[in-house]
Subunit: 343 residues, 4 copies
């Protein structure tokens, strides 16, 4: 940690800050610059000591050197993590493709979707049973009934199930039916929920909050890892910016950044990341080209009549075509996209 | 709702969309423009019918006319709501000032803070017992012990207690001790929590998420109101933008906007809204001038040694001075800032 | 254009707005909704009539239906535009690759760069002679001397020259030496400059401003097209968002959006779009996969000693490797990347 | 400057970077941390040496210590600058109020506006003769004719004239008629224009670009100051964010920040900063409360029929009322708002 003193900081203030640094159990190293004095605090811990130093008298800025997360970091584990749960393998050169409807709506809708996405090459099935909706007047999901349908679809197709959990109360129930617990963007900093899924033995798909920084995302992952669950996939699903022609702005450079900073697999969500079905195929193939470890895509038998997110869902034909394009690009960037065997 | 057809939409597509509109129980009214045909859908409901129309063939855009929220809207209740809970009165011309430490740390720290903020003119005491922290390595709050200290501080000073609840599991416990339940920015779209505080008989301070739109904030309030709890205060605490010299960007125009759209009182948080103690006084007085109904300010006996948020906390002297400035400005804009009587 | 009246708008106000609409030469069509009255204004022009209606009494909102730009729009010209200038062909299935140093620094640096990027497969050479720099203390470019070196490099390699023009005063001079005039992000709304390059017979590469909307970008292109210059390439180079681990946020979905709205070719700049050399190759291949018509990439013989933008420049080896990856992906998405013949 | 080496940086890399630092004329000071080695580079200059170090082998990050601007900084000139040009005094405790129409449209419109704003208490007149418009189809201003009308209005009322200059070609012409040259947000990084107004003897009102950082704004001011013109006022007019209920987001905390970093006066533009007339009065008084040195407000005799920006212009009555509120708040924060004597 580097404590930068103001140009007009007094000798007393500098001395005071040296003491403060030492009280925190760090070694202080004073460097006299031409205009500023800086104090290097050696032995920095990851706790928020930065904050407590910022209020010191005569302090201009405090610059942390260490990343605030640890278990998630590539420094601690240099090799990429591959996660396997049922039919879904993801990371370290293998592309996972999770596809299916936004919400589970009925047996027919779900089974048809599962078959179609499997036929096109998806390696896991998504579908929401518990839906966090912006408006209390919107469809809130089929809940337990939906979970049962998801399990039936797995039975039928062999596809691993990815589904969202929105409350600590439901973690055990959802874990009973699902292979992967999804924590949605709106719950990325619901720390109780993170702790609860961290205690589960199911893998977790953690979506980035729409205004979360990368450090915040990795610290959210750290909450889960810290509870003993090593199987965390990070999902970039777009951020809030001034752009209004897309629902969110999808920064694919997150893939490059996360691959440098963490060993965890990175999944891209081109559906929420754009909010328009016509953009989803382009962003799916771009994500594969950029080196993403996985995709999560909304697919619906009849998007025009979907109970949620129809405007960003692909129909079966468009998904098949998208997968065809993804397969060609995956080959061009040496990624493996395994086929799922029949059950 | 207005369905705008593409310039090259066919007669079949237009007919199809007219049928879709009618299937939704709305009356379709077709207008032939010079370049586009538009269909006015009359009888619009607040559910997300917009989304399902957007996927229609030949549709260029769908423009909703109604606000998506209802109970929170000024159209439904034109007069401003005043909320009273213990010593705190807020709204309709009365300024509420909530002040105190970020976290409850000890009896001494809390009682000293409560006395100081009351003496300076605050009308309620804030203090966190359950802390949602970005890092799992940070101080997580004193929990139930902290709640007891808050109740003791109320006993001592007569100040109403505002404190955060981070989980549905804790709502009853917190409600036992607090006058106002705070829902933090990170939980603004934790819908289960919103429903739970909506069932409580305590007033709620709902903080805006860092990237929430105004519609999303008002829909979050709607979740609470819908459960039967009418006492919701909205809190602007800053949004995520590209600015890096402040922790968040504090848009005071939210006061003007919300006063036009909703009857609920609007509170400004200059501490989180700036992230730097030196900016807090300026933004507090600016908020009062802009017509805010309340302020929530972090105050600590010794910010340099605070366990959380010290860099944005005022010490007692600076808070007193800030209140003096606020009082003068409140007078200049004809707001009342009541004194809290001794218990 | 749709004028939405407030729920409590009076009959007089509605009548007044009907008159206003008719004064603007439009036909007014009144629709009585359940809660709101809306007035459809038929015959909308592209001028800002929207603005003048918004201030009307009892008006809640005005919704334009037409895009504000015209010549740039795909409605006016449905087939994609291909631009050819010297060795550079771009658009309609042909990928253009513009590469070279941020600044022209010396003959050796430039000729070496030109040879290296040509050998790796670039189809045009970039290099700044007039540099717009954030700080007055930074290197401001070699100016005319730099232009001469660029022309010499074209002589040597046959590569078309792309270089920036920062002032109306310099347009003629730069046009004398360059094949493509670049208008930088900071000048995207320097309308005098847009008009001046619109009068030139050189093609123009127009970079998106860091906070420009798509409509603003297309209107800036419209300024150029309106002056009679049809050869405009649009360049997405990243937008300002809250992300701090990249210099800008690069939204590749701009490619999908622009391809739908305009016939002009779309170029991606992964160098400015990320600000970190290590991210550039991933984003270059992702751009090709997303369907971009061109790339513009900073390449320098010795990035560590570059006079500008070294941190985001590729060295020759890394550029060669990037081009190899781009070629494979271009093939996978059926794009042509032509070879430049020797002069 | 602090060069942070990666955890796995080799001894050779560290040595290499020490040499690089010394080549730049700085003194290198190596500090061995627990996990990272850092090199403090003492003697830092303001040129962009940071950039050239970032590409070094084994470098994790480079942290500059000095602000990049100098003449604008409060460290160089600790006392606030007061600028006086004709009737306008601004800074160091005196509030300047610049008001008038967006565009000069006619003699009647301008003279009526000048009289009205003066009567209400404005201390300078604004009005655009050269208009930078987003669309080539919009009204582009009366140009020289408009400048003459502005001079006539000064003759009539004694109010100093503030008007925009959009091109280097026009600087002399505009300077002939105006007291203050305005550089608009879209031209904040038009460096040639900054240099040209820096050579003028007129004061400059420099508006912040919609996505400019504070450092970029201060460096733009530095371009002007460097040419020898000391009379620069900085204007916060709102930034681009995800908010859509305001045209831009107006961060009043810019006042606090700029007052700490620079001695130059700070003006707030609540008209562009909100984009809605009904929000302008609240933000004007909030700006005064926050300590702004000046306001610039759009006022029009008949906003509904204004040729530009009508939706954010106040009519005479609303401006008078706003000034009345501002005066009361200015008094409450001990700011002086001088009266302009008749000519």
């Amino acid at each position: 940690m580097i404590v930068v003193m103001a140009t007009n900081a007094t000798a007393e203030q500098i001395e005071h800050m040296v003491e403060r640094v030492e009280q925190l159990g760090l070694k202080a190293h004073v460097i006299q610059g031409t205009e500023h004095t800086v104090i290097a605090a050696i032995g920095e811990k990851r706790e928020e000591t930065k904050e407590s130093l910022e209020m010191g008298p005569g302090v201009s800025a405090v610059v942390p050197i260490l990343a605030p997360y640890k278990v998630a970091s590539r420094e601690v584990k240099p090799t990429p993590t591959q996660i396997q749960c049922g039919s879904l393998t993801i990371g370290a050169g293998t592309l996972g493709v999770i596809a299916g409807p936004c919400s589970v709506e009925s047996e027919e809708q779900l089974i048809a979707s599962a078959r179609a996405v499997k036929a096109a090459g998806a390696t896991a099935l998504r579908g929401g049973a518990f839906k966090p909706r912006t408006s209390p007047y919107s469809f809130q999901g089929m809940k337990k009934e939906g979970l049962k349908l998801l399990a039936a679809a797995r039975e039928e197709t062999g596809l691993a199930i990815v589904t969202e959990v929105v409350s600590t109360d439901d973690v055990d129930l959802v874990a009973e039916y699902a292979d992967v617990l999804q924590v949605g963007a709106r719950n990325m900093q619901n720390y109780r929920l993170l702790e609860a899924v961290g205690k589960s033995d199911r893998a977790v798909l953690l979506k980035r909050g729409a205004s979360a920084t990368m450090d915040e995302l990795l610290l959210a992952a750290e909450y889960i890892l810290n509870e003993g669950n090593p199987n965390v996939m990070l999902c970039e699903r777009g951020i809030r910016t001034f752009e209004s022609h897309t629902r969110f702005t999808l920064p694919l450079a997150s893939v490059s950044y996360l691959h440098r900073k963490t060993h965890l697999p990175v999944v891209i969500d081109p559906s929420h990341g754009t909010g328009h079905a016509y953009m989803v195929p382009d962003m799916a193939v771009a994500a594969v080209a950029a080196g993403a470890d996985g995709l999560i895509v909304e697919v619906h038998p009849d998007p025009e009549n979907a109970l949620s997110d129809g405007y960003q869902s692909l129909n079966f034909d468009l998904f098949e075509e998208t997968m065809e394009r993804c397969r060609r690009v995956a080959e061009a960037v040496d990624m493996t996209l395994p086929a799922v065997s029949s059950t």
